[in-house]
Amino acid sequence: MSRMTSKKIKTVVFHVLVAFGGLIMIYPLLWMALSSFKPTDQVLPTSGQLIPAQWTLDNYVNGWKGFMGYTFGTFFLNSFFISFTATFGTLVSSAFVAFALQRLKFKGKKLLFTLVLSTMMLPAQILMIPQFMWYRHLNWVGTYYPMILPYFFAIQGFFVYLIMNFIGGIPKDLDESAKIDGCTYYGTFFRIILPLIVPALVTSAIFSFIWRWDDYLSALLYVNRANMRPVALALQLFSDPSSGSDIGSTLAMSTLSIVPATIIFLIFQKSLVEGIATTGIKG
């Protein structure tokens, strides 16, 4: 058998296997999206079949109406605002701190790193009450501040640690040669490191966006007006255990709610494919 055909066979096998695995992975999502077009009382009884026997947009119409006089349009705008600003803050601040902890020598570095890790270890459900007390003291209740401002201060150890890990993968010679060229530490960060950690920043942006988008606990406590609710909190209202749930509308609005994250992923993953990181590392 010639080399060409064996390579072709390999490619076909690759695609078949990956596509099949992908189908298993994506099945629940497909199920959610397709079920949202079934009449709401048919979703559970026909949960075994993927394609609706009877297509309807009722769930979207009904779900979009939203709560307390505000439609999901409002909730989506709120979620966008919160997620974008908080993500921006997270990226900028975490990159700074990560650079310091990974590349610079200074007093108290070990302690800082320990504290960074410790912020990953306390569950949000426990901190939420003491945090509420403090934010109330700052007069932040009823505003978006608690859901945005802290993120400008690298309070999520995960992102600091993630970016640190990437900076660790960049050869140290690059910093050294920049220093010899007369670059300050600040210059090194902005001119050498920052361009090289774009994949890490993209990855972080995707995570941060999704986490902020899904966070309903802080919205529950700090948003006290119906028109300020983000999508995640609004979605919670579709299901109340004792009074029954509208499963169709839940699925319809859940489906819509993952659309932004999906689009963002599809746009940004390109920069992961193209591998910006490899381009400067020859030095």
Binding site: D41, L44, L220, Q236, S239, D240, S245, D246
Partner: protein, 444 residues
Amino acid sequence: MKKLLSVLLAAMMLLAVVSAYAELKVGTYDPASAGNVELRFGWWGNQKRDAVTLEALNFFTENYPNVTFNPNAQNWSNYWALMSTYASNNDLPDIMQQDYAYLQQWVEAGDLLDLTPYVESGALDVSGLSDSILKSGMVGDGLYALCAGVNAPSLLYNKTLTDSLDITVPDNMTWDEFEEISRKIYAARGIGVAYGEGNSENPLTYYARGLGYNALWDANGVIPTAEEMAGYYERLVKCVAEGWMFDTDEQANVSTTGDLNMHPLVFGKTDDVRTWCAFAFSNQLAAFQAAATADGIELGITAWPSANPQASNYMKPGQFFSVTTDTKNPDLAVAFLNYLINDPQGNIKLQAERGVPANSAMAVEIADELNKLDATYGTAAAYLAIVAENSSPIFPPLPAYAGTANDEVIKYLSDEMLAPKPGMTAEEAGAYFVENVNDLAANY
């Protein structure tokens, strides 16, 4: 003469309904005099409740444009987490929905306003509420909550199934009759009973009342003896051993994680994962029936089984409305409460979604309207009329430790005793129950 009077009365009522638009039943305080104010109103529920409540609020603001509302609706678990957080900061909404199980504890924490002065001054009209319903909102001598809708424990069952097996489910059946029916259905179709709802104090209270006590517990601890409580657990062990009552594993397989749309009564592909009945409350009938319709099931409603159903059963305030001590406009809040309880137009907007209106005269007055909106309303109301004749006054508000006892003792024992192999004997369970609950009561 009597007939004439009733006709006249009916005509007057009709007139009242028609003219209600101009004048809402708000008591003696005129909300228009409050100036431009905002009232905060918190409740738990789903989209349906949200929509009907909002309509009632809008109707109020149409009449009193100087009042605006800041509504805050959450689902059950988020609601209580949020409200206790607000309470810690003295920042509760002016009016909040309350639950019978929580009332005592919220009053003890000093978060609810005593409404007695408003009743005495006439600002709050409670003349439409029956004595027992009014009392259910009282803690000590104070009135802290008004009933938003009346409820009763209800056994919802698959009437389509029982009809097909030629089984009649009697009203007020005893526990023995219930076992008999369950065995028959299990033998014929393999359809069982899920007693997972036993994770709350409700079935235990029901059992204790069947023994002749008024309640399961009070501030000092458990009322029945350890031997009597052992009887409750003995029953569970026996039923599980007979096969028709789900053990914890079978329960987990159909576990609904609280969502009634997935309750085995109304959902499940095969008979072995279905049940013929659910231990529920009457205001859940509409939601259960909606979920059952897809499978072509018609639901019946009757009382929970007990050794003595007339002693066990009770009319329960489904939910309450309370004015909180954090309100800055108590007069206005009370006027609004008056509207929620007594106004026929407002209650048509509310669609009896929280249960049959507590103001019984008004409930009769608007029954036709409500029937038009929800076909199950009539069934639930008819059942409640039966319960009214066949029940005993409700137990006092639960002691403050009840919630903790629920989590730490009742759930634990129910897990142990419904297990495929029970973790202890019924005697041990009864003793464990009394000892641990009394311990909680003493140290709370």
